[in-house]
Symmetry: C2
Subunit: 303 residues, 2 copies
């Protein structure tokens, strides 16, 4: 498989593959309907809309969307709709779960339910995004933009594995993983840099496979060949990182938002750790990003 | 004074002002000589080069720089050169201190010397940068890119004041200060968002003056009017921040490096808290950034 290097190639890569079934929890707002409708039209998704049937049909009509292309399950209570859609994904009746007009807290409560949810016991839940920056010649898989504020070692290892797995799905066979910091120096007083050293050794010992990990590295050493030359730092990443694992959510969040705003960046993200892909989009995401998110979930649902 | 909105205007703003005297510690590498020479040629700086006179003259000749435009003080030992240049700035024989070919540790030791250094007792040392992003219509003053890894409340207040002071020097009369986080929600479990709330109240009570502070805010709410409208968040910053105070060095560092690399950003930065401006540049900075740094120090040395 040729690696997918830009997000528009992601949509193309799904052509000819069997569409994935997406269970949409409380699919009754124009944002959700607009995004899922486009994905259905492009042929890579089928939608099961769980929510108030009357409202769904009314909203579809307002948008000029043919509601008959969706399977609609009538459930007027949002918490029950969440439980039902999670159950469908657990049972294999759907391949992907997607949040509609329901509070994130209520939605995640259903996802995280110990008996009936989608997160295996002791699994770490995290969030990985594929970031498309015009000035970088391939995608950057970044984590964690949204879930774990201050990852500890165990969480950082899980985050790294999730991001590497996503890179594999995009056809990047042996992704270069940079553990991001401010400098390339290990500082025993800064736990993140210590954890980075540990993760590098685990990678070298084959405990984290099918990728090349180095860190701590700053953004320049991770993503700029020229900076690596000037600084003379020996690193297998060599300014060509595929994956950036950030020390904190704050760092990852400000990094990608800065590049969305001022670097022309586009983004597709997904919750990680669950047995099937879970899509949670924010209202403020662009139309394009929303479509990319759904496409990403379908790619990740491939065996 | 018209606000300086881009870094090239910074250079122009110094035209016609009396040049500032810069004491350069161990000024004997081509990087330092190249940068300071340009500043002298542009007329806003005079240079006192403290270091090995023979080497300085040799390096100048190699670069085709007329060494006679510099005052050169012969001192072959780097630690002594640092002490001497710090003393000159303390005495008022120079307006600005600048690091040359000496380790940052040795250099800062002289700056931080309790009896003979440049940092007043109990003052917080920090770092503020003016970041010029083509897609933003004014400068962003960001802190802390380099000195304080995890600012506590006291440090964050000091950082905020330093950045506001720099904005004032650039002619921004009542700068809008965004305390940056991942979201706009105060989360009692995340100390940074709690500190942000405290700083906002201090601003409202007049304890931090001549600026408008709001936070926590994410990058979108801080710098994008459209996002403020979509999210419907009430904030006096309104997507037009002049100052961004980051929760950690890691967040600030990855933010600006991402934008330098992928958003066409240019940067000028300065140590803050010292009685006179202190310039510490890294080798990997661009020629332009180096010149901007020196210009910034001269602007900040104005009464």
């Amino acid at each position: 498989m040729q690696p997918i290097k830009k997000l528009d190639q992601l949509i193309k890569s799904l052509e000819g593959k069997s569409p994935k079934k997406i269970a949409v929890t409380f699919a009754q707002d124009p944002n959700t309907i607009g995004a899922i409708s486009k994905a259905v039209d492009l042929g890579f998704a089928q939608a099961i809309m769980i929510g108030d049937k009357e409202i769904i049909i009314k909203e579809c009509k307002k948008l000029g969307v043919d509601y008959q292309k969706f399977e609609i399950i009538d459930e007027k209570n949002d918490v029950k709709a969440a439980a039902l859609s999670v159950e469908m994904v657990r049972n294999g009746d759907a391949d992907v779960l997607m949040k509609g007009l329901i509070g994130t807290d209520k939605f995640l409560k259903a996802v995280l339910n110990k008996e009936k949810g989608l997160l295996p016991p002791k699994a770490v839940m995290s969030y990985v995004c594929a970031l498309d920056i015009p000035k970088y010649d391939k995608l950057l898989f970044i984590t964690d933009t949204a879930v774990i504020p201050f990852p500890d070692l165990k969480q950082k290892i899980a985050m790294t594995k999730y991001a590497v797995n996503m890179a594999h799905k995009f056809g990047v066979e042996n992704p270069k993983v940079a553990l991001v910091s401010c400098t390339e120096k290990v500082n025993p007083a800064i736990q993140n840099t210590v954890n980075d050293a540990i993760i590098c050794k685990m990678n070298q010992r084959g405990q984290i496979k099918n990728c090349v990990i180095d860190g701590p590295l700053d953004i320049f050493l991770a993503c700029d060949k020229e900076a690596v030359k000037i600084k003379g730092v020996q690193t297998p990443i060599n300014g060509e990182a595929d994956v950036l694992v950030f020390p904190t959510l704050e760092a990852c969040n400000t990094f990608y938002k800065g590049l969305m705003l001022f670097g022309g960046g586009e983004l597709a993200g997904l919750i990680q750790g669950t047995i099937k892909p879970v899509v949670v989009m924010s209202r403020s995401e662009s139309e394009k990003s929303k479509l990319y998110c759904i496409a990403l979930s379908c790619l990740m649902a491939e065996d």
